[in-house]
Symmetry: D2
Subunit: 277 residues, 4 copies
């Protein structure tokens, strides 16, 4: 007995649930959890099905391909533990939260390595027995630096790459190397305060809320599909530094929750938006 997750999305049409669940039934797979959604704006159907049983992936997918309309995507993924690599710069809170939850409960993932452009978080990764690689950007070009990062990360063949406050801008080259696999935490409620120093921007604008956004990374800075967002209330007593400090709790909480959703294969990407089951 194995556990797998079927993810399918396609143009909406009559009878899709019936067709898909019948195929699962025919394959003697038990549906332990099922969620569907129809995006009426784009007339698209999304379905996520947790299955238990003995799988013949090839014939199951072939049956699905016969049944589903043109323009469908479907994948059958194992529900087993995923592998991630975490990228960091200098801030410890997001990395620490993931390490703590993975060690003491709350997340269940293989953290293959932490890669940073400084060495100051090596100690934290080592506290939790996770390999740490310092790949300094000093004295080399952005392209050279990124190549080294890609090489270091790729060696671990991660399912996902987590930017846990990695403060460097990525090139299309990097994004292409891990397409739809890079999750970033941005320290503002996007689309407000794109780019550098969002808390400074927030202070100057005089906002009464600050927040954080977890999103997939695409080639447009801070414009990828949003997975999760949250905010906290602030007031005039908060300096930009106070905002930054208070915001950390939101950042780490949003990133950890988004990571969990991604690891459980709950997130579809479509038209630069996400469907999160």
């Amino acid at each position: 007995m194995e556990k797998k997750i079927l993810l399918a999305d396609c143009p909406d049409q009559k009878g899709l649930i019936s067709k898909i669940t019948n195929i699962c039934y025919k394959h003697q797979l038990n549906i332990s959890n099922n969620t569907e959604f129809v995006d009426r704006t784009h007339n698209r159907f999304f379905m996520r099905t947790e299955l238990d049983g003995i799988f013949n992936d090839e014939t199951l997918l072939a049956d699905l391909d016969s049944a589903l309309p043109t323009g469908s995507h479907r994948k059958l993924v194992s529900a087993s533990r995923k592998r991630i690599v975490i990228l960091v710069t200098k801030e410890a809170h997001c990395l620490g939260d993931i390490l703590m939850k993975n060690y003491y409960g709350g997340l269940d993932v293989e953290i293959a390595a932490v890669v940073g452009n400084y060495d100051n978080l090596a100690e934290l990764a080592e506290k939790f027995d996770v390999p740490y690689h310092t790949v300094s950007h000093v004295g080399i070009t952005r392209e050279e630096h990124e190549e080294k990062i890609i090489e270091t990360v790729s060696a671990y063949q991660p399912d996902y790459v987590i930017l846990a406050k990695y403060m460097r801008i990525l090139t299309p080259n990097f994004v292409a190397a891990f397409e739809n696999k890079i999750i970033n935490i941005h320290h503002s409620f996007l689309p407000a305060f794109i780019g550098a120093q969002p808390y400074k921007q927030a202070f100057e604008r005089g906002v009464k809320i600050i927040g954080a956004t977890a999103h997939y990374v695409t080639n447009n800075l801070d414009e990828g599909p949003i997975i999760l967002q949250d905010v906290i209330h602030v007031d005039h007593k908060y300096s930009a530094e106070d905002m930054a400090r208070s915001g950390k709790d939101v950042e780490k909480s949003v990133l950890s929750k988004a990571l969990r959703l991604v690891l459980e294969e709950r997130v579809f990407i479509y038209e630069n938006r996400t469907v999160v089951f």
Copy 2:
């Protein structure tokens, strides 16, 4: 072409979604929206399906009854506009919010009548052309008063009875007359501060949040199945009166949202808990 909603819950077993959607498909009904959930604690399956087509209710339900296991509940309800009667005492905010939303958009319901034990909200109901009945409790027993209320409400044959800050305790007689049809808004985050004057209790306990709870009414005061809850933050500057005033926005918002969920047939009751799709 008609639109109906199928609600089914039963002991969980393999193939339920497939069976139910097949029956719908066989009846040439289109599933425009579908949600399922399995409560693992009670091993119970819940499914809500929005259907479009031409219905033969009798054969559809017969087919479902053949397919579903012992211990199933199922109902097929029209997706058309529901009829409610609202009970009030003296406070205007919840009634006003429902009236405003029904008149200007946000709710779509037939408000058959408002019934109050005082006459001071008659003017408000009349502003929105809704009949108002004053059924005073003065000079009669609780039982006599309730009989009059039941009589007045029953005359309208409401789908639901909404207690929009109706401040009198109901007897089992009343609850039985409108079983699983009475929605109450309680001005605390239940189960805290059951009973009278929750804001006074909240002030005395020195809480830092206050809230509201919309729930179905059962025979146990403030202990019925919870539909929705929300809170706001307060601090030492709030007197009990400030809490009561600020709480009104939460109360009306929670009641309106819960009412909308109920009217759209999104709420299952099971084991004194709700499944809200």
Copy 3:
């Protein structure tokens, strides 16, 4: 015995609280409530003091002027009921919330008139016995229309002008006519989604929160000092229309709360930011 509120802000220096409270004490005024704040970024002191007693405004202010440093602002305002004019376009919810709260409790303000560029909310204003003026923009220039609005509003000499979903852009002429007296509710968490159709923008960006912002109106569209903001969580199931409908509860709640703060003279404006006591 009268009740007044003293608002003072000035460059910070040693002994300010002592100086100001001594002056109040010397004038035999009782401080029933006092709040101060020092903005360290701008090195500026803010103080709001509720005073009871018999006032000689002229000598009190003269004493303060002697005591306070260069660059100070101070005003002494009556704590009595303020007068407002409300501007609307077609949406009823913010207007309705203010009318309801003023009539049944929660706000205490003289609503001198409602002015709209359509006539469809006349009925709502009249339900609550508030004069309504339709000033149509049809067939005249923006400037001509605004002149008419200014004239209509000015006739009531309002303390504040509330834009309760008034959907037309104001010219500097209008802003100058009611400087620091115009409060707007914008249906997004600013600075995100400035301008028209923020919910449509929010849907297209795929955000997971939507919100509302109450702010003073300056010459830069949606860029005035923010008084209050709040958000609610949304997910992929929300269409742009669902966002708009759900957002209304946040809009009306944020505007009503901000209005209350403004009416109680709790808001300082400084450097395009607010200090809210």
Copy 4:
């Protein structure tokens, strides 16, 4: 130049702010931050003043004692770093959050030791170079165990004792040993779900929010003065275990924030309630 915090509370009367700030001025102390509040229900005045300068504590307090009415409390505390001891049982998240924040920024406190009734968190404390003491409750009476705990904790002379998910009930003996110095995190929105297994209780009651409460510990279980509370929304998909897992983020965030408030001397206790500046 030193930095101290003056905390005073007394029956309200005219001129208190003036009197106190004059005394500070006379002592050539600069007020860098000042907050007052009058609790109208109990007619009591609270004031917290951050002072910079050269202090003669004895004469300053003597001057204050002369000026303040009967029934006053006042204390002058150093703004320097406090010392805490943390008590734990088996759960790591609250302890981990405090250790992380203290090490990497967000809290600034001397964590003198962690004391647990199991040894499984020793490793975590040691990761951050904090001494850990296992004081097992096995094979001894509750009283004997508590005596050992008191002895171990007392040896460090902590300013505060933090119960970071310490799951044992304290006797009056323990509470007396650290009066008004014990901070607990309870994993529910008190006063709901007092006592053991609040998430199990929450699941069974079918609530739609879960939360956490940081409070001072008194002799009545979970009934001490509340410092801070927060909640998150849950739905029918949450099992009791899911609630427990999700609740951890709220617990650790609420405890860390409350601890920060306490360490900055921002919390007054009065009539089993708190005033939090």
